[in-house]
Symmetry: C2
Subunit: 354 residues, 2 copies
DNA sequence: GTGAAAGCGCTAACAA
DNA sequence: TTGTTAGCGCTTTCAC
């Protein structure tokens, strides 16, 4: 007679069994007579009961089956980057069959690290994944720790009690750097990912270069330094988007002493540089070589194929998914680092003879 | 002394007050002396208590603050479509400040409508949003109904007990059709969004045309028919992606009696057609006019600007967000339909003189 | 202004 | 194999 949704108790009453027996009929976790089970299921159908309320189950088990993914940026911007998308797809595809759902937690636009997203404080989740390189001063991280939620950090700095999933980007950057240098380039410029939440745009001063806060640009820059590259300029961009790469390309290639090679820290930035070069009437790679980072498939850049170091994006998502599973099984997964592969395309070649 | 996380009861005990009083200290919903409140909060800090456990709150209130978004496709594919992304961004931006989180529920690759996603059955959510046009035979929809979860359907067919959010795409398509016809075109081909989950590729036979299952291609086709267009060919694509538009463009423009105008049901498809035309050495719009649908900003198509009918994507997300809010306030929001605007670009012009 | 008590819907010991 | 009992952590009447 309940006017609201039927509960397990209603079903049990209708079937003439106890609530715990009815529970067994649904969970299957325990011995139950086939006839009893059928009776319960029949009663459920009769009452239009749609199975145990997950809220009750969650409170009891302390598990929600939800993995919070902190994007660390607006969805709009993150989702324009195939790097995020492909990893998220790999993650969701791994998590789905395991019964986990992905809760999106977008970051506010451009906030200092002290900024705390309300969902981080209030949303139910079993595990949190920080997909954009956590730093120690991150307020979200502090809150997650206080809540006792295990944290997986992607390409972040090593942090106490945080499970790391990363890529060999320093090594990859070094390999890319050696490739470009090996071609004979001496005037090499770098287009960098944002240094911090301020997301500035322009050639970085030495002072600014000394205060790169985010790990990813720092590691990739370090890799190029490892290769012995001393860049003629490092151009900081506000986000890994084609238009910012284009702006950087125009700025770097317009002057008189233009670099003979430009290495960008992402393929999206690199493709913007290629577009800028084309607009300036420069041939790639005859007049200027361009290299990227990530190994994306960018058919619209045709006929050019970007020289890049590729990272296994879907695999990265899958690794995170498996780490989530391990955590939920009570294990403590160790850090994982995935390799990168140099892919030489058509956009790098010897410097122009002068 | 609890080895696990402290609970409200622990905090209350430490502060020397009752659990109900401690609850008031956090919720603020009720009269409480400032000194008592301070004492509770101090005890919480001392115990490293991070606020009321949302699971308990949820069970009590019956609310989870989670909005399930059924993507109806792989994330990988959906997220390559700016139409989905921009709407999702609008939705998440509206929902975030209201305290709701977005739970992503990707669809399996290419499944018949009988396919049921496990998360649809098991995940906690207050409202479900079907972002890709629900049909009556959808198993997910049936399950959501059985679970008593309110459903918002985006651009779907009108369904009993489902809140509709749509766009005037039939009207928009008609307007676009009249624009193209007004230029003098008589041989017009259409590149269509997928007809159903089979996602076939190629020119549709009359039989195939009669069995379009998904609402969006059907409505947009109907709009063109409203404008009096009798297409020389309708090319069905497996997804709204540039590469499929390119394939369609090649197929339609390669033959001897090529159309003088191609109308695509999405901008991504249309831009693929433009690329195909360029590859075939055809000038747009002198040799062939191309029009799209959605009104995306596609800078990489430069110098061309696509003629299209634009839909307010972020606004669509915001409308859904407000509908969610209304539902959670106990109201029953009515259906909403957003208008579209014809935007004439550089890709349409008069047909070539023969 | 504060506390006692009764659940929200479910599961997991344990007992029968 | 089934039923009894006791919570999971919280909020919310309703007394005091």
């Amino acid at each position: 007679m309940a006017s609201s949704r039927p509960t397990l108790a209603d079903v049990a009453a209708a079937a003439g069994v106890s609530v715990s027996t009815a529970s067994l009929a649904f969970s299957g976790a325990g011995p139950i007579a086939a006839t009893t089970k059928d009776r319960v299921l029949a009663a459920a159908t009769a009452l239009d009961y749609s199975g145990p309320n997950p809220l009750g189950r969650q409170l009891r088990s302390g598990r929600s089956g939800i993995v919070g993914v902190l994007i660390g940026d607006q969805l709009r911007r993150s989702f324009r980057d195939p790097v995020s998308i492909q990893m998220l797809d790999g993650l969701a595809s791994t998590l789905g069959p395991l019964g986990f759902g992905v809760l999106l937690i977008p970051g506010a636009a451009d906030q200092p690290p002290a900024h705390l997203d309300p969902l981080v404080e209030s949303a139910v989740m079993d595990v949190a994944v920080l997909i954009c390189g956590a730093t120690a001063d991150d307020a979200n991280l502090a809150t997650l720790r206080r809540r006792g939620i295990p944290v997986i950090s992607v390409e972040g700095e090593p942090l106490e009690g945080v499970i790391e999933v990363g890529i060999e980007d320093r090594v990859g950057a070094a390999e890319l750097g050696r490739h470009v240098q090996g071609l004979g380039h001496e005037r090499i410029a770098i287009v960098s990912l944002p240094f911090d939440w301020q997301r500035r745009s322009g050639v970085a001063t030495p002072a600014r270069l000394a205060e790169i806060r985010w790990e990813i640009p720092r590691r990739r820059l370090a890799g190029l330094t490892d290769a012995g590259i001393v860049p003629v300029a490092v151009y900081e961009t506000p986000a890994s988007l084609v238009e910012h790469g284009k702006a950087a390309g125009h700025a770097l290639l317009a002057g008189p002493d233009r670099p003979t090679a430009i290495i960008a820290q992402s393929d999206l930035l690199a493709s913007g540089v290629v577009l800028a070069a084309r607009e300036l009437g420069l041939r790639v790679p005859q007049d200027v070589s361009v290299a990227g980072f990530d190994g994306l498939d960018l058919p619209w850049l045709a006929p050019d194929v970007l020289t890049s170091v590729s990272q296994p994006l879907a695999e990265k998502g899958a690794v995170i998914g498996r780490a989530v599973q391990a955590l939920m099984s009570g294990e403590l997964p160790g850090p994982e680092t995935l390799g990168m592969t140099l892919q030489v395309g058509t956009t790098t070649g010897p410097p122009p003879a002068h």
